[in-house]
Subunit: 207 residues, 2 copies
Amino acid sequence: MSINLEISMEKLILEAAEKLFLEKGFDSTSTTQIAKEAGCNQALVHYYFRTKDNLFNMIFESKFSAFFQQVFDSTHLANLNFIEKIKYISNSHFDLLLENPHLPKLLLNELSRKKESLAVLREKLKNIPEKLFLIMNKELQEEIEAKRVKDLAFIDILFVVISLNVSLFLIFPLAADLLNFSEEQRKYMIEHRKTENVNVILNYLRP
Amino acid sequence: MSINLEISMEKLILEAAEKLFLEKGFDSTSTTQIAKEAGCNQALVHYYFRTKDNLFNMIFESKFSAFFQQVFDSTHLANLNFIEKIKYISNSHFDLLLENPHLPKLLLNELSRKKESLAVLREKLKNIPEKLFLIMNKELQEEIEAKRVKDLAFIDILFVVISLNVSLFLIFPLAADLLNFSEEQRKYMIEHRKTENVNVILNYLRP
DNA sequence: CGTTCAATTAATAGACCTATTAAATATAGT
DNA sequence: ACTATATTTAATAGGTCTATTAATTGAACG
């Protein structure tokens, strides 16, 4: 009995498209390039996915709904105290970005390119962030009243978390190129900033 | 005697191109669109600038060398103490972004699209950041030794400053769209984060 | 007024892109 | 082996894009 090692061309096309869309965005990627990367005829891309838009949307939506659901997932937070919750949110957000380093750029470019994508994504996420906000805001209020945390809104905390983590994958690589960082320096900064970003947040919370 | 109100078509094309390139990036902007926006024939764009690449590079290089020179300008820092210097850097960086809110996205997309642009920019900036780093690192050491500031590298501080400020113009508008923020909420957040970002930094520095 | 040069336009070549169609090839069932 | 179905390819229509060319208009000047 042999395992099916055959990888379907449909899947190869999806992978090629994902890679190219992530690297270069929608407009700068052609179905011809996708076909070449996948190792097939250009018409086959359209045979399986009909339109380039279609293909893109499939990748886009699956990637992002998965990503956001994980970011805003609050099931793992139950047994943690407030500070631990913040640490957990920052760290898991960071790890998710580490697995999908190109995602922020794609999101950025795609959502300004096509306003419908935004509506679709908004619909999908409708209730997910609210749940997290509800939990965190409540606990944040308690912490503030007990003078254990500075008087802040949760959105301010979230803004700092997201900004610091995303920037490491969005802005830092660019700065590293400009300043001629070596591969080791880059790697070090990524690891180093994971803990430092948490420190920034925790200091920000100090009353 | 009348003032020359005549605006040259060459300038109109430059302005149209700048607007469109900033909004939609290089690949998604056509010379036909630029001509339409400027109110002239498409061939005129090529008459004045020969190639689309040329036109783009002119805008790109002038915008960015001006931007970076201001960011890394250290002449205004002379009479300030260390904390004031940090405040000043963050605030002026913020104000510069406020005047050029689309610039970060353009930089991001363009530098990953074309590696030569990066080399050009790197050459232009060669000595500018070093001067700032020199000043700030020296003073930072003194502050650390005097136990007035936590033991950090200047690049860590700069990373946080840049991340927080840039994210407000890069990431926040997107989040605001996703979460259906009103125009007032957006405006409030921009103002609010200008001071909060400085607070984040200063707390990060506390020993 | 006629000449010269700059600004502007219309027209179009040539490249590439998306999407479709029809033909060719492979796969599987009977 | 024959047929039906799925996969893959070649060819190409139709569109848009960049860039060039030649022709037209406008302005300045002797």
